[in-house]
Symmetry: C2
Subunit: 202 residues, 2 copies
């Protein structure tokens, strides 16, 4: 007895393939859409298709940009500081840093992170275009803003060894207690970092 | 400075409209799809569209069915028991009950629940088609399988008062401790129901 008609089951399967969406959430979404107005489903379908067809990557920093545009808005901007380059793993990281409003330099998106276990070496991510970019257009400082994870640290170390010889200052984002955090609940590594990176108060 | 190109932002907005998906999950999904192969997005888009165009409701029980089919598989089946009718709120409830394999009767999907606060009365859900169905084709027993919530209980009470005068036996799903549950952690209402509904052991 087929309790779920095929078109509904297909949608449940398609949702289940997304990260963080299990079979239960997938059915909940499918049955919600079944009850909701057609527009909600069709808008989502249209958005999915046009995201794939209407976006591309910036030729310079590899952030996402509109298809047909060579450079992203940030690279094309004349008001941003050309002497600062922030290296991040993913486009989402650019958005997070932009949201702070505290950074006025430019970006380079690696589109991934070194991970020997998953077979991702320097050739698989945008490391060589970054080194090429720095050789052609040296900057004053490169800020390595990879994630504070094992892979992020490995990638930062690799980049640091490649960029320092070019005579460019290299920095990393500060590690320590998150704002609003609790020392009591901080994990051991974070607390160790916060101690070793303590800053003197004048 | 536009950090997220419009096509990506549109997809994030479309995902955010789904229940249980906030802005953060929506961006995570959108950026995942951006990196994933085109197929994943296109399959989801196609599944969304075809679910809306290729499904319809069973003329008899109001469960979902393929467009063009008058009756769903369960209503059309000749092997199911015609003397038992299980009344549920949503198509998902049919699937849950089917999954148990413990029920061989037919169904009626109310497509909602009575909720005076939200202005949902008997006319807004499939109550009259149910009463009509019972008058034309009386069954031996109606099992009221609405949710054990305030609205579900109200709906069940309303239905019970309408169905009993037709001379049809009416039953409700048992309330009590969930299997695998802990008395220690059971809420007060569940425990009260489990006590008042206790069954003698012979």
């Amino acid at each position: 007895m087929r309790a779920i008609p095929d078109p509904v089951q297909n949608l449940i399967d398609a949702f289940s393939r997304l990260p963080g969406i299990g079979p239960k959430t997938a059915s909940r979404l499918a049955f919600y859409l079944l009850k909701a107005s057609d527009e909600v489903s069709f808008d989502l379908a249209k958005a999915l298709e046009s995201m794939k067809t209407k976006t591309s990557h910036c030729r310079l920093c590899f952030n996402i940009t509109m298809a047909g545009e060579e450079l992203c808005d940030i690279c094309a901007s004349s008001t941003r500081n050309d002497d600062l380059l922030c290296v991040v793993e993913e486009p989402l990281d650019v958005i997070a840093i932009e949201r702070t409003g505290a950074y006025q330099g430019k970006y380079h998106v690696l589109q991934g992170v070194l991970s020997p276990i998953e077979g991702i070496g320097p050739d698989q991510i945008k490391i060589f275009p970054l080194l090429e970019r720095l050789k052609n257009h040296p900057v004053e400082e490169v800020i390595l803003a990879t994630n504070p994870s094992m892979e992020g640290d490995t990638t930062a170390l690799y980049l640091q060894q490649r960029i320092l010889p070019l005579g460019i200052k290299v920095s990393r984002l500060a590690r320590g207690l998150p704002v609003g955090g609790d020392i009591e609940y901080a994990d051991q590594n974070t607390l160790q970092r916060a101690l070793s990176g303590r800053q003197s108060v004048d």
